[in-house]
């Protein structure tokens, strides 16, 4: 994207019919760390890559519980994400107060999209710089939506946003046909594998990712670190039953099949074997 004379205000169209500020906002989403979502008929799983800036700091919260039946994972400007999560929580709780019933996720995402659209049509505002993967339930079952800064929203079977999300998307594209009928456990496993794809070489450990689940009869909750690590260990022992991937990265994971806690870390976060002090 180049600097040009039509990109100063969000309210200025380019001759080609584009709003550059909105597109730049979508770039901000691509710079954030990856967030992944997938759903079956009855469950939705959200996963995200959570890397702390340094060993000394905690990592950013990227998954928020909005209500018992809705949760959201964000990528991009986390501050914007936090504000929008607060809005979503507020809407859910107000609806529940008036109707004693959970707000259908389909309606929440429309309200969220309309809120984002406002920022694309006011000269004194800027678009929200965050993409949201909204997971939740309504009358017709489990749903996964993606809300963009442009004010658009789409429903997905599975999706990934943020940096290096293409690797995850490629994996999901191969497997999504089965997701509708997947069990909860298989769905979580697929989410973890997709997260690993986004890590591109780095070892998948529970200290770098966060997983959350919501389903029919199961309120939205974030899985705790031990559970996640156990899940990772379970399927890593089985190793990849998937065919050799197009990306080069899985080969490096093959190096140490038996020792989970080996020092074979490829990634940048070297040295935190047992999880740094300020994890969840």
């Amino acid at each position: 994207m180049f600097r040009n004379q039509y990109d100063t205000d969000v309210t200025t169209w380019s001759p080609a019919g584009r709003l550059f500020q909105v597109e730049y906002a979508m770039e901000a989403v691509k710079q954030g760390s990856a967030a992944i979502g997938l759903r079956s008929k009855t469950h939705v799983v959200l996963a995200c890559v959570n890397k702390a800036n340094s060993e000394l700091s905690s990592h950013q919260k990227k998954i928020f519980k909005v209500d018992n039946h809705i949760g959201v994972a964000i990528a991009g400007l986390t501050a914007d994400g936090r504000v929008l999560s607060r809005y979503m929580r507020s809407e859910c709780i107000n609806y529940n107060y008036t109707y004693e019933s959970p707000l259908p996720i389909g309606r929440l995402v429309v309200q969220l999209a309309d809120k984002a659209q406002v920022c694309t049509q006011r000269s004194w505002k800027r678009p929200y710089g965050v993409g949201l993967l909204v997971a939740g339930l309504d009358e017709s079952g489990a749903h996964l939506y993606y809300n963009c800064p442009s004010g658009n929203y789409f429903e997905y079977q599975a999706f990934a946003i943020g940096s290096r999300s293409q690797a995850a998307k490629t994996y999901l594209e191969r497997r999504f046909d089965n997701f509708m009928g997947s069990s909860r456990e298989d769905l979580i496993k697929d989410a973890l594998i997709a997260t690993r794809e986004s890590l591109q070489g780095e070892k998948l450990r529970s200290s770098v990712c966060t997983i959350a689940v919501v389903g029919v009869g199961e309120p939205f909750h974030i899985l705790d670190q031990e559970t996640v690590q156990q899940l990772i260990d379970t399927f890593e022992i089985v190793k990849e039953e998937e065919p050799p991937a197009e990306e080069a990265q899985p080969a490096s994971e093959q190096d140490a099949p038996t020792d989970q806690t080996s020092g074979a870390d490829q990634g940048a976060a070297a040295g935190d074997q047992g999880g740094s002090p300020m994890e969840i």
């Binding site: 107060y97 008036t98 109707y99 004693e100 019933s101 259908p104 389909g106 309606r107 309504d138 009358e139």
Partner: protein, 232 residues
Amino acid sequence: MDGVAESQRTLYPYVTGSSVVAIKYKDGILMAADMGGSYGSTLRYKSVERIKPVGKHSLLGASGEISDFQEILRYLDELILYDNMWDDGNSLGPKEVHNYLTRVMYNRRNKFNPLWNALVLGGVKNGQKYLGMVNMIGINFEDNHVATGLGNHLARPILRDEWHENLTFEEGVKLLEKCMRVLLYRDRSAVNKIQISKITDEGVTVFPPFSLKTYWEFSAFKNPTVGAEGSW
């Protein structure tokens, strides 16, 4: 104290409907009310429909001020309209409508400008039956059988004894008729023109009005004051 100017607050009702009685039965909800609108002690209007369908899943019956009932119907009309405009496969069920009404009624009560009604909200959604009541001070609850006004005192004892799960439609109607008959004998603001409505998963049916057979040859009715010392 003043949500509205003194001259605009509801102080007392003018045209009122009497009791509404409703029960859950096998397939849904049955609701009965007479078609009278009293102007004080005059039984002035004799074709007032006091039970109306709301959306796809609910029935609303009202006693109390008829004009406030009409106002409530307008609120609900707008509510259902906006619900339909989402066009997304989700719809407000009877539980949601009941809670919405509770909020409205309680809110008005807090502003000292009540909607002078006792409402019965019944419906079925996805096989789940719901029957609730809310009145002008915001008291609300749900139960297997509800009634408003004098119905609480005359009809509910009968229902407590004779209601059971999975009444058939015929049994339900007979039970309601029994209740309405007692109300007709004993409630001075009842008129003998009853309307019964039912709601099931398939939809709403409002039956044409009918009259109850009454028997006035009871010896106690013929000589009501026999044994009452000092009466005439």
